[in-house]
């Protein structure tokens, strides 16, 4: 494996996208669209990891 940031980036990008597919799901104690916010954060994090891995290669 050339760079660990690559699989980490791919993993969180996929999980972020998956969460984004269910933005309307709600939890009992909050009205916040948790999946949308968390999904966006993970997409950003995964993207940053992929960018760092690509920059190095």
């Amino acid at each position: 494996m050339s760079d660990l940031r690559l699989p980490i980036g791919i993993f969180f990008a996929i999980v972020g996208l998956l969460l984004f597919t269910m933005p309307s799901a709600r939890a009992p104690l909050t009205e916040v669209p948790v999946n949308a916010y968390a999904g966006a954060s993970m997409l950003l994090f995964g993207g940053a990891m992929l960018w760092l891995a690509r920059r190095k290669s």
Binding site: M1, L4, M22
Partner: protein, 549 residues
């Protein structure tokens, strides 16, 4: 707690990725050193996060959230006082000897510094303890998933153990370390939203604090007297017991964490590993403890949240999972549960990779077959990995059957661990310390720990010889046991060393302070030098303690 398709998909995706990392790493493993020590080739940012993740087992995450609900912000002392100062010490002062001696394990350092019997004592107790810890952690995870998700105990245990076995068997230490980094990010991103949502629900930090007794949101203010805080400890036992003996004993001598730093690509990287890890370590209380504190506040808010009860009272161990059920919808719930599984796997892989190295190099090569070809030790390392996982599973089932035996074993191991830091401190910083002194000191310290437990009582525990003193809590009792054990080991090691012949100085070069040249990385930028990095860590630590006084 019902799970949807997306939750299972995220869990399955995580399994695919950890296995893929193991398979990819396999190509890099051709010698026993590649498999057991990573061939000293891992970049520093990876060893740093692995250093932290190996300690972030499921019991730690669940237990710290439970302690947050029970004791409040004082639990953060397990990080700010009970970890970070020791991490700074091991990076600055001890790593030059671990890494510079080229020892492949902590017990091997003891052999080089003292003698074979001291190494054998440390290696044997460490090997048994790691398997035991791994098994107990596996048992706890199996029970938790059974209770919360209704999953079958055997299926949870065997599935998670099988995955850890596959990736550690294929890629050895490197695979475990690389996966620990993925697991670390998953733990942070999986639990941080819970802390934010829970605190927001209680009205922000001030709103949360206003719903709780003041002692729940302060770390130092109520430590003046043991009766003023729910932990039942006072400032001296907290600082000396947790902040010095137990903390330094774990972070500076436990091969499970030290092994991650020793895998770094250079001496400088090995020294910076615990220092870089100290930054996220300082932040961890906000991710794993704060949801517990918020849970305690939510109970008083009549919003439909409560903690389940068990025979002995409130079941704080379910704080984390019940909070996830209330704040995470399907999707994020899958991320949270995957993070819980990841924390278990990182802890177990840490135990297994430390066990296989100590077994192969310190027990097998040291005592059973010393001069075999390297490929034989590679084979033994892989066999030890399989054996370690199998014994961990057996321990998990033993814990299920005989919970009291597990409590006794855990106690005995704490007696063995408590004095260990005195041995290393004298070994590294006093060239006059001898092997006879170290060995006798360790045995005397362990005996002192057992005697202190037998002569004192706390929450109906201990006092099996007589009751000379009562502690307000088992935590206070544990801290004082550690203090007595460490002091006894320290004094006996000095006394016996002065009565026995020291090693010649030429045999101690690279192993003892004063006989070892320590590089200062002059010319490197400050963030690549351990000294300035440690100063920044110390400043951040002081600020945190002042803000949350």
């Amino acid at each position: 707690m019902p799970l949807g398709w997306i939750d299972y998909t995220i869990l399955a995706l995580y399994f695919v990725f950890v296995l893929a990392i193991g398979i990819a790493i396999r190509r890099r493993v051709s010698t026993s050193e590649d498999f057991l020590t990573s061939g000293h080739s891992v970049p520093v940012w990876i060893t740093s996060l692995a250093f932290l993740a190996a300690n972030l087992g499921a019991q730690e995450v669940v237990g710290m959230c439970a302690s947050g609900a029970k004791y409040g912000l004082m639990t953060a002392h397990f990080y700010w006082l009970g970890a970070v100062p020791a991490m700074m010490f091991v990076g600055i002062f001890m790593m030059p000897f671990y890494y510079g001696s080229r020892a492949r394990s902590v017990p091997e350092y003891l052999k080089l510094r003292f003698d074979e019997k001291t190494r054998a004592l440390n290696a044997a107790t460490f090997a048994v303890m790691t398997l035991f810890s791994s098994g107990v952690s596996m048992y706890a995870l199996g029970k938790l998933f059974q209770l919360v998700l209704g999953w079958d105990f055997t299926s949870s245990v065997l599935l998670s153990a099988a995955i850890v076995l596959i990736y550690t068997f294929l890629g050895g230490l490197t695979s475990a370390i690389y996966n620990e980094v993925l697991q670390f990010f998953l733990i942070v991103l999986g639990f941080a939203p819970l802390a934010i949502l829970a605190v927001l629900k209680t009205g922000g930090w001030n709103g949360m604090a206003s719903r709780l007794p003041q002692v729940m949101t302060h770390s130092w203010r109520y430590l003046g007297n043991a009766s003023e805080n729910p932990m039942g400890v006072e400032v001296f036992s907290m600082v000396a017991g947790l902040g010095f003996v137990l903390s330094f004993g774990y972070w500076c001598t436990d091969f499970l964490v030290v092994q991650r730093a020793m895998a770094a690509e250079s001496m400088s990287a090995a020294r910076r590993t615990p220092l870089i890890a100290a930054f996220p370590k300082m932040i961890m209380p906000f991710i794993v403890i704060v949801p517990g504190i918020a849970a305690a506040a939510l109970i008083h808010m009549n919003v439909g949240y409560s903690l389940p009860m068990k025979e002995a009272g409130v079941d704080y161990d379910q704080a984390l999972t019940t909070m996830m059920a209330k704040f995470y919808p399907s999707g994020m719930l899958g991320v949270g549960l995957t993070a819980l599984m990841a924390s278990f796997m990182s802890g177990m892989a840490g135990n297994v990779t430390a066990f296989n190295t100590v077994f192969t190099y310190d027990l097998y090569q040291g005592h059973i077959r010393p001069n075999a070809p390297d490929r034989h030790y590679l084979w033994v390392g892989r066999a030890a990995t399989v054996g370690g996982v199998a014994l961990s599973i057996a321990t998990a089932y033993l814990a299920q059957q005989y919970n009291n035996i597990m409590d006794v074993l855990q106690l005995v191991f704490s007696f063995v661990n408590a004095p260990l830091f005195a041995t290393f401190l004298l070994g590294m910083f006093w060239k006059r310390a001898t092997g006879h002194g170290a060995f006798t000191g360790l045995l005397a310290g362990t005996t002192a720990a057992a005697l202190t437990h037998g002569l004192t009582i706390a929450e109906h525990k201990g006092g099996w010889i007589a009751t000379l003193h009562s502690f307000p809590s088992t935590m206070a009792q544990n801290f004082w046991i550690a203090i007595f054990a460490w002091s006894t080991c320290f004094l006996v090691t000095i006394a016996v060393s002065l009565l026995s012949a020291p090693k010649p100085e030429k045999d101690l070069r690279g192993l003892v302070y004063g006989l070892t040249e320590i590089a200062h990385d002059a010319g490197e930028p400050w963030y690549r030098r351990p000294g300035p990095l440690a100063i920044v860590v110390a400043i951040c630590l002081v600020i945190l303690n002042v803000v949350f006084w």
